[in-house]
Point group: D2
Amino acid sequence: MKHTENRVSDIQIAYIGGGSRGWAWGLMSDLAVEPSLSGTIKLYDIDHEAAYKNQVIGNKLTAKETSVGKWTYEAVDSLKEALTGADFVIISILPGTLEEMKSDVHTPETYGIYQSVGDTVGPGGFVRALRTIPMFEEIGSAIKNYSPKAWVINYTNPMTICVRTLYETFPDIKAFGCCHEVFGTQKLLIEMLGEEKGIKNIKREDIKVNVLGINHFTWLTKATYKDLNLMPIYKEFVSKYHKTGYLKAQDDNWLNNYFTSGNRVKFDLFDKYSSIAAAGDRHLAEFMPPWYLVSPETANDWHFTLTPVSWRIKNRQELIEKSNRLYEGQEEMELKETGEDGVKQIKALLGLSDLITNVNLPNTGQIPNLPLGAVVETNALFTAGQLHPVQAGPLPSNILPLINRHVANQENLIKAYREKDRQGLINTFRNDPLINLSPKDSLSLFETMTDNTKSYLPDWILK
Amino acid sequence: MKHTENRVSDIQIAYIGGGSRGWAWGLMSDLAVEPSLSGTIKLYDIDHEAAYKNQVIGNKLTAKETSVGKWTYEAVDSLKEALTGADFVIISILPGTLEEMKSDVHTPETYGIYQSVGDTVGPGGFVRALRTIPMFEEIGSAIKNYSPKAWVINYTNPMTICVRTLYETFPDIKAFGCCHEVFGTQKLLIEMLGEEKGIKNIKREDIKVNVLGINHFTWLTKATYKDLNLMPIYKEFVSKYHKTGYLKAQDDNWLNNYFTSGNRVKFDLFDKYSSIAAAGDRHLAEFMPPWYLVSPETANDWHFTLTPVSWRIKNRQELIEKSNRLYEGQEEMELKETGEDGVKQIKALLGLSDLITNVNLPNTGQIPNLPLGAVVETNALFTAGQLHPVQAGPLPSNILPLINRHVANQENLIKAYREKDRQGLINTFRNDPLINLSPKDSLSLFETMTDNTKSYLPDWILK
Amino acid sequence: MKHTENRVSDIQIAYIGGGSRGWAWGLMSDLAVEPSLSGTIKLYDIDHEAAYKNQVIGNKLTAKETSVGKWTYEAVDSLKEALTGADFVIISILPGTLEEMKSDVHTPETYGIYQSVGDTVGPGGFVRALRTIPMFEEIGSAIKNYSPKAWVINYTNPMTICVRTLYETFPDIKAFGCCHEVFGTQKLLIEMLGEEKGIKNIKREDIKVNVLGINHFTWLTKATYKDLNLMPIYKEFVSKYHKTGYLKAQDDNWLNNYFTSGNRVKFDLFDKYSSIAAAGDRHLAEFMPPWYLVSPETANDWHFTLTPVSWRIKNRQELIEKSNRLYEGQEEMELKETGEDGVKQIKALLGLSDLITNVNLPNTGQIPNLPLGAVVETNALFTAGQLHPVQAGPLPSNILPLINRHVANQENLIKAYREKDRQGLINTFRNDPLINLSPKDSLSLFETMTDNTKSYLPDWILK
Amino acid sequence: MKHTENRVSDIQIAYIGGGSRGWAWGLMSDLAVEPSLSGTIKLYDIDHEAAYKNQVIGNKLTAKETSVGKWTYEAVDSLKEALTGADFVIISILPGTLEEMKSDVHTPETYGIYQSVGDTVGPGGFVRALRTIPMFEEIGSAIKNYSPKAWVINYTNPMTICVRTLYETFPDIKAFGCCHEVFGTQKLLIEMLGEEKGIKNIKREDIKVNVLGINHFTWLTKATYKDLNLMPIYKEFVSKYHKTGYLKAQDDNWLNNYFTSGNRVKFDLFDKYSSIAAAGDRHLAEFMPPWYLVSPETANDWHFTLTPVSWRIKNRQELIEKSNRLYEGQEEMELKETGEDGVKQIKALLGLSDLITNVNLPNTGQIPNLPLGAVVETNALFTAGQLHPVQAGPLPSNILPLINRHVANQENLIKAYREKDRQGLINTFRNDPLINLSPKDSLSLFETMTDNTKSYLPDWILK
């Protein structure tokens, strides 16, 4: 890397995955509009063709006159090539294919278990985790060998499992996990301030929140805007929209504009627990007992929908087609900030400007009533070459057991995997709040689901 | 008190409750056969007549020539009178009447929730706790005022809530909670050794167990007899009797010989979690999700039965009649050790002989992976004027979340009660694994049940 | 308060103390050059005349055309008046008079104990703490009664004792303690970068440091500037200047330009402990065993001097004279930023711009290997209405016992004071590393010193 | 092993060391008078001749008619031979020779540092630890390989370092460290009860104490005998004998009858800290600042003497001569219980009878305010195949920093050794309270002392 006055050049980024297009293009776009950084991005994907197409697409973008951030994209053939010399590593993979995800999401429906996303907790998140752990063990080992000093940014789900596995595999890794779910809630609070207080043009960054919990099940215990304490205002707002939902505050980020909700789950959780649930309703619902997910209709009553994997398959096809058009030059990539924090984090770690944002890191005390070592989500300070969690304080007593249950499951899942303890896996599977089945049925579901993903699993897990 | 060589006389015991007869008579009998102790027992019960009859019955027992332990029984009219000057306080009350218990146990059945006991956790235990807390606040305050140096032995359920409330009310109290549930498992292990190894005439005390957990949901991580590690033997035993149950090892203590089970729940839990669940099946089943309590039939399939409160009412009537006969002299109390540890604990605390046995105490580190301060059950060392928990080590990782959930509920129940936080109570009620209902139904059950016990509750809890 | 676009008016600040002039004038100056804030400052000092003169001086400053921050100064007669309605409280008092300080600093010299400052630890800091605790109990109670929601900024020494006492007295207080000692080390690192790397014009804020420890005994485990890791550069720098000292990097803040040193203590500590001691040498020397303070000559060998209280008395006289001149209008206050963070902290808490800086707060986990509750110094995030420590990570293992000893002493001093435990005070006094005396001599010193300050102490401390 | 009714035969014990005779003969004698145990003892010592003579001496003892415990003694040539098949391992070695110990004890005298024992802390204990760690790494590894299930009893000093190293080397080891120092204080309390209360013939085991701290620096926070709280009685006793000392209560165990003291250090510590220091004065004095060890005369004023290594050399010669006489049959070993707990511990672990006694074990919470993992001394429950610490509760606040300093030193010494961190060793050396020297002198002492023991040390420690 070369630092000059407020600019850094010759940065080397390894991008692992990204063949699924969306995230990679977002990053390309964010980098292209950022004038202070430049360098090389090594693209590695098990789908080499996808990586190669991204190389061409990325370099076309760089060639545009309007691109102020100039990057060279280069598809490589191995993790080793991608990582060697990397200053930053970005991991954004799909663990398995959408065929496996179809089983994750829809097989449990035969037992009356409905999932709105299916990639974090619940039976779908659990089985996805089983596929993911060995992949992240491999990536973690490769980082240890080829780029031990690099900053590692993970976007892959299940986030907690991914980050925890990286630290298990290589304890000195400088890894963190990023997720934009909290941003949506900041935007909702902006809408609220417009509606309740007539304040306009608030920037997301100016909604100051104290975030704590685990990925996709984060909570805000404090939210302020300048001199305003937003908690009592939100209380009013919730009482107004609890029944009808509130639709305006949708995230219009092109990455996920499909996924709207009326925030009724978020409002209902506030009503019960007096803190603001920070993730989107589709995620929140999966962490609770099946209150909001009794059936697709219940979900609709709560103003959100279950995302079928068929949609993802169709969407993927569209992305492949778009990829081809971009590759062939039939379409041009739009230059536009995504609102994601990735590039800001890189700038902050390079010493160009401090950043406070929420990330996933092992708990070293930032949430004093969760176990040390478990991966948690709070704010952190990104500053020149340093990353420090911000102390979030303890989880409120009524929220604590809800989160502790998932923390125990995530810890036990990884422990059982590493110890090859099949019964431990089954015990953990059964402790998920969505898996509200008799032991017989939960075992049978476990066996069907692991069988459906068996090409990714070691033998000892299979019956 | 007066200590002479291996004898202590002039001991003063306050017995709070006991009108329900069973436990009081057990203690009388144990004291009468113990030659090294004598003194006075002040009986206090809100049912003064019951206390008075116990006075007469007790003094008749003392008058018997065969009674080697000579005690004067004296019914008193107030907590103050009972406590002033007491060296030991024994608390064994019924919180409310059997009418309230009928609601605790049977109202939830209208929502498909079945309880085998209904006095510890589950909806019944929860509502019973609400009645109990103020009673124990009153008793704790009275002890603080009238007998702050006395040792306090609690037998009342819900045990954890009772002991925790005493310490909340008077942090310097020297209280502990006793429960004989673990003894049954020691006896089962004796039966097992007879059957599997041909060893006979083993004393319960010689089955050395490492107990840990919370009352009625305790586990053994170690069990030894002389040079034998009992865990692998138990594994064999479980595989033999998992399906059929094992009926011989019944507790024939006259206090609870009604309550037989085939130990199938215990065996099933071992099969899943590799530690020995130590309480009786009827209690264990209530701490788990409704796996063993889907219906009365499910319970029967698992070889245990739900105790109807009607039986308790009938049994109570029989005890009253027996009480009258004893009082009138138409019947004589049998002199016989109950197998309970109460008298041994008193002897140990008086310095007559050390004792290791399981009790309920605030966690000061004896179970390092449960929260400090929560009331937990482990072994403890009773010795002259000192009581120290024995370090039990951490709960196994798969059992931890099962117990942590109840610990959080118990802590939050007391917190919400003390802070008059109705929503906190409802949140906690909903987090009980047996209360597997929609939020709407759980609220409705909460309201019905609290209404049924409303004469014991403060207004803010009621709708 | 009134918030408008990037400005806050009608702020009310209570300034407790400040009669000693220096700190108060610094704040006045910083406020006068800050355009985004305005309001009223209530000045309360037990020396009412000093407060009144500051009122006049402050209002003169406000009247100057060049003052862009407009504040009304108002001397008041009671804590109650000062605090009622306050948004911020600033505490900067002298606990006792310079006569008492003379005893703190110089009495121990008769036992061969030399102190370079005498206001934090060592015998001087200890006895000063005894005078300070009741004052801060009074201030804490008044804040609880009159301005419980105010942010409270303490500048008084002994810092740790002051902040800890405020939290002991009023646990919900929003107090923190500020100290500029770390800034000097950041400036030293700037000098170093100029010298070693030829980098010029670095702003202090761009030297990113991970601060941890206790006030005046803080350490940096990380220091970065943009992409540079400053630790290996500092290692070189230390090896170059270890023997000769390095004099250029002096703090030229007018508040403390008297107090120069050659940084030899700081360099020697780095040599031994591999982290950068962050406070000034005069403070650092007092926390260690008497390695650097065997005698005034030893101190001089290490390139620092002992500040005699006679200098403070003389300096005070000069300040009083200057005060009179400012009051009379014979001299004008210079408008100039002091480099202190106080005004920036206020702005950040008002939501005008985030700030990361080092402060003293109770440990809630920011230093996981120090006791929870003890007051520690680390970075913290100041943001709209919120203050959160930044996780600093554990103290390095060789530094830990050095700090732990002082933490124990500070905790035990307060505990013994609150429990009126004279022997506890003496035990703690003896555990100070500078008090390297026989028990007989340390007792005699304790008695002499407490006698010298007896008008500020309760009877039970005196012999 | 073979268990029959209350007897265990075919026990195999590995005895590592013991060539120094005293401890080995004590064990032989204790085993010979114990009827319930028998088996084989494999003797391994680097001085093979000593081991062989002990074989002959032991077998002669077994041959005596009056010996009721029959053991076969067998000298072996390697650790492997000794350990293979062992049920118990006893470690009692001299780390280095008395020549090295001479340097440990007497070299510091040239710097004015006097040590009464020199084997635990202080400069002597520190350097002895450096020699000991590699020996215990070797023993720990051998146990891991050859007898991983054996119970391991250590008698070697420095106790804490030995036990900690065993657990560092083999975390699953079942090791504990035994020390009889606390017994002397129990005997002193018996004397006191005789004198103050006229109670006679009290058995040591009936003085119930709550022990906590680290080896040779243990404290009693509770002491009871039957219904008597001994603390107020001891307070009286101390005030009576503080000045004159109390000589009667001497340990007349033949193993250490040389080492008398007047208990004045113990009394003085009680006077200051209100708990009973439990180790002997000669050990206690070394853990404190040089209050009691300014000079040999100071020690004498406090009624104890410094043990010169010349005495140990002479004593050793006498033991060798006695050994020869025993070996030749010119003298017979006396059959007599030593009062040590070793054989009782073995019996308890074999399930023959429970035992509560003080031992050294890693802290898993038994002392909640000391770091987890550090080796601490508290009571523990020995029962069939199980060993559990008894919860001792927190150290009193004034004693905590005294002990924490040594705990940090012990932890840091081992850490620095394992990380080959010479500066870390020197930092730790300097943090010892007895090493009250300038950095220059402490470095010079460190270098001289390590040079004196260099044949036992790795090169990186030497200059």
